[in-house]
Symmetry: C2
Subunit: 499 residues, 2 copies
């Protein structure tokens, strides 16, 4: 199957539109809305029977800040300068960052909150300051990443940046997408469901001038004067691509996404001359919390060695766990702090004992490994410090309440969720660019997990970074396409005659 149809080979088009958007998740919805609000005719094609994409599956925390703070941060007296926000993102993603994208994001993220709120999404002016993946308290602001982990806190003042819609707990994505969908519909976007984009239409000069869409078992040609915006999701549902690009997650993870996350947008963009980057990176979390009390536990590998600050975000814990030999991951904890993890199914209590030595022996660990780790930890925890991994002092308490337990988080057993963080290389404007020169491909834009965005590694991920990125840069792509110089000087078929 070819992802490209020649423009010159098509005499008549079935549809004409100024802007076409592929995929009606968070990115595609926001892209379509901005292009339409800028006065363009917009067709939006969604391969499933309803809108939402993977954004609707998420809790839809929006990771926003900078510019002194969002309206919600400011209302709570929380300051977040752009420099501070940027320092945090730099600490999160290091060499994987695209600095231009980060600049545009920290400059505009606070205003993006106003824009989202103006869609009709309600946010309560209240903070949840506890430790949870998603606040279930009705509060609309929370810490959702590694902000308070000392390694990060030394590089950027900890600020809560995850903005949760009111009237939502785990279904925030549906609350947010309901507002996006309503606005897209009201704006007059021409929405087509059960409509799968199967190819881009590209002219002999390399410009993208439309797409082919499969509807009702027929291929329709769509001509665009201002551009095609690919917002077709990532590739976590594509078994071959995940085996090729993130083989390290095979057998130890479950796929998180909607059925359309097949990588089509990425492959189409590459076929048109773009480049896929960051393809080996993925979100892979280990939800050791909630309950927050489990943060008092310590995580060890099969050698009884600690390997991460246990107050880290779930994806940072996942990243560190992947670096341990053979996926052998355990939590040691005492009776005072133990509780069933809320999200991880199938944990197994490997050993319980009145002493650490007993637990160590029962678990089959080499004598002296776990005992040393716990002793060393206890000694320093009693002094309020963690010289190895710098877990924050409020999570440091010596283990002193028997029985003690070792709980298995062996990766192959708990199969935690994963989704992809690689995709097309784009300018912050959404323009898909070529390798080497990074020259924009005329008429082609992309956003959402079809591109390599702000969140580029599990080690630096925080809840809400992806949906913030997809909506923010989806909007940017919509505006950019709307403002593009039209590529419609020649009627359909004229090029072929001319050529």
């Amino acid at each position: 199957m070819s992802w490209i149809r020649s423009y010159e080979s098509i005499r008549d088009f079935d549809f004409e539109t100024e802007v076409a958007v592929v995929g009606f998740g968070g990115a595609g919805g926001c892209a379509a809305l901005e292009a339409r609000r800028a006065g363009r005719s917009v067709m939006l094609f969604e391969r499933s029977s309803g809108a939402g994409g993977s954004t609707a599956l998420s809790a839809c925390e929006m990771y926003l800040g900078g510019n002194g703070g969002t309206a919600l941060q400011k209302a709570l007296g929380i300051e977040d300068t752009s420099e501070n926000f940027r320092a945090y993102l730099d600490a999160c993603f290091g060499n994987n960052c695209d600095p231009d994208r980060v600049s545009m994001f920290v400059d505009g993220a606070a205003q993006h909150f106003d824009w989202m709120e103006a869609l009709g999404i309600r946010y309560n002016r209240s903070l949840f300051s506890g430790r949870d993946v998603v606040a279930m308290t009705g509060d609309s602001l929370q810490f959702s990443g590694n902000e308070r982990v000392n390694w990060f806190a030394k590089r950027s003042k900890p600020v809560p940046r995850a903005h949760l819609a009111a009237d939502a707990d785990h279904n925030g994505g549906q609350v947010v997408m309901a507002a996006v969908i309503r606005n897209v519909e009201e704006a007059g976007v021409d929405i087509r469901y059960d409509a799968r984009a199967t190819a881009l239409i590209q002219d002999a000069h390399g410009a993208v001038r439309g797409l082919v869409v499969r509807m009702d078992n027929r291929d329709y040609t769509v001509r665009t004067s201002h551009g095609v915006i690919l917002c077709a999701g990532g590739f976590i549902m594509n078994e071959l691509m995940t085996r090729q690009h993130i083989p390290h997650l095979e057998g130890i993870s479950t796929r998180h996404g909607n059925p359309g996350d097949m990588g089509d947008g990425i492959l189409m963009g590459v076929a048109a001359g773009g480049q896929a980057i960051n393809m080996g990176q993925a979100f892979f979390g280990i939800a050791t919390y909630p309950p927050a009390d489990l943060t008092y536990g310590i995580l060890v590998n099969g050698n009884g060695q600690r390997f991460v600050a246990e107050d880290s975000y779930i994806a940072r814990i996942g990243d560190a766990a992947l670096k341990q030999p053979d996926g052998e991951i355990y939590m040691f904890i005492d009776n005072r702090h133990f509780d069933r993890p809320h999200y991880v199914q199938g944990i197994e209590i490997v050993a319980v004992g009145e002493t650490v030595a007993e637990v160590e022996a029962e678990a089959g660990f080499t004598e002296g490994t776990l005992q040393h780790t716990v002793e060393f930890y206890n000694t320093h925890a009693a002094e309020g410090r963690d010289p190895l991994f710098d877990k924050a002092a409020n999570w440091l308490e010596p283990f002193d309440t028997a029985p003690f337990a070792l709980v298995s988080y062996r990766l192959a057993d708990i199969k935690q969720t994963a989704f992809t963080l690689g995709g097309l290389d784009v300018l912050p404007t959404g323009e898909v660019v070529t390798p080497n020169e990074r020259a924009p491909i005329p008429g082609l834009y992309a956003a959402g997990r079809t591109v390599a965005g702000i969140p580029r590694t599990g080690a630096g991920y925080a809840s809400g970074m992806s949906v913030a990125d997809v909506t923010f840069f989806g909007r940017a792509a919509g505006r950019q396409a709307a403002a593009a110089k039209p590529n419609n000087a020649l009627p359909a078929g004229a090029d072929a005659a001319e050529g």
Copy 2:
């Protein structure tokens, strides 16, 4: 810059050949030779002023075995079944493996040794059984990877598989390439130097039918009836691509390759409809040996924790080092075993002391970290075992000879060598395939580090795996192209008139 020229747009071609090969390193040389020996006219284009590629820069150990053993293995009484060879490669690369490629390799690798020897390369029938990256003894067979590391030895019987040319030590690549070049010249391949391929020529049906080559500041068109074989190396010299695909090595590595390793072959293949995979993987070695005696040392991270079996191959040590926090890597060793590492420049002796406690304190490690690690190691080493990382018993000796030292291998200081292991997805025959369907692109082949080959991770790499892969599969691509059905029914320009 576009990597594709339309076949139909070209009226007259400057050159006609049955097979064209891009790049005259190990892969390109072997591909050209096999295609020529099969009776095809072959043009071979090399962008630099001489042949050799990155193969000539290597020691050119050839990692071969299976089928009971190569002629050299057998002469030394060493048996190596295909099952054993395969088990080793599976242990090396796990989910990253391409099983079909591995099958073809283990089936044919022993015969490949005969073929290489028949080129006129001499191999001594003698074994070096010591531990070194490259034997400097005149012996032509050695262990060059993790074969004797217990984790691997439990999965595959340890067998030496690195075949070194006689009359070579570090310059084996030049010895081998001299023979390849001589054979290619004698076979009547039309070789063009200072000839850079700048685009593939593809027809409207997607078939590759030639290429554009820049020579003497002019673009020449080359029409091929049987195929183009891309053997243009990896992308380690491309600063943008390495930042985009292997950002984790930025600032801590030096680039190993020839100046042509710019990724052109990969980008051309992708532009023609192929897919680049495994792009985030690279060889990154830490040459803690030779001298072999340094294997008695233990490697620790900044927390004083061991993290790898120290008898591992340099790239496995590098891989494990990359997983430690902040690139803080050290070797602890006693006076009995210390010696200057031969390859690593700029090591710094961080601390020396009469006791481990003294070293620990002087190095600024948290009290009790290094001491515990050494004590624990000593206790078990005295019993001939390493319960944590299973270093082989012959490398286990308690540290007992003061003074003791901690030597820095901080990654940012020692900047060890790296090269890329990602590239085009191909069938074992060298046919470049599309994403998803993995359908061959007619007329397009690739080999060498332009493709994702046998060696796919640093964790499983062994010296000689890459040159074995590039020569073996270079040959396969040459044969496959030579045997292809010719795509020359229409003369140049005829398609354009027809279309």
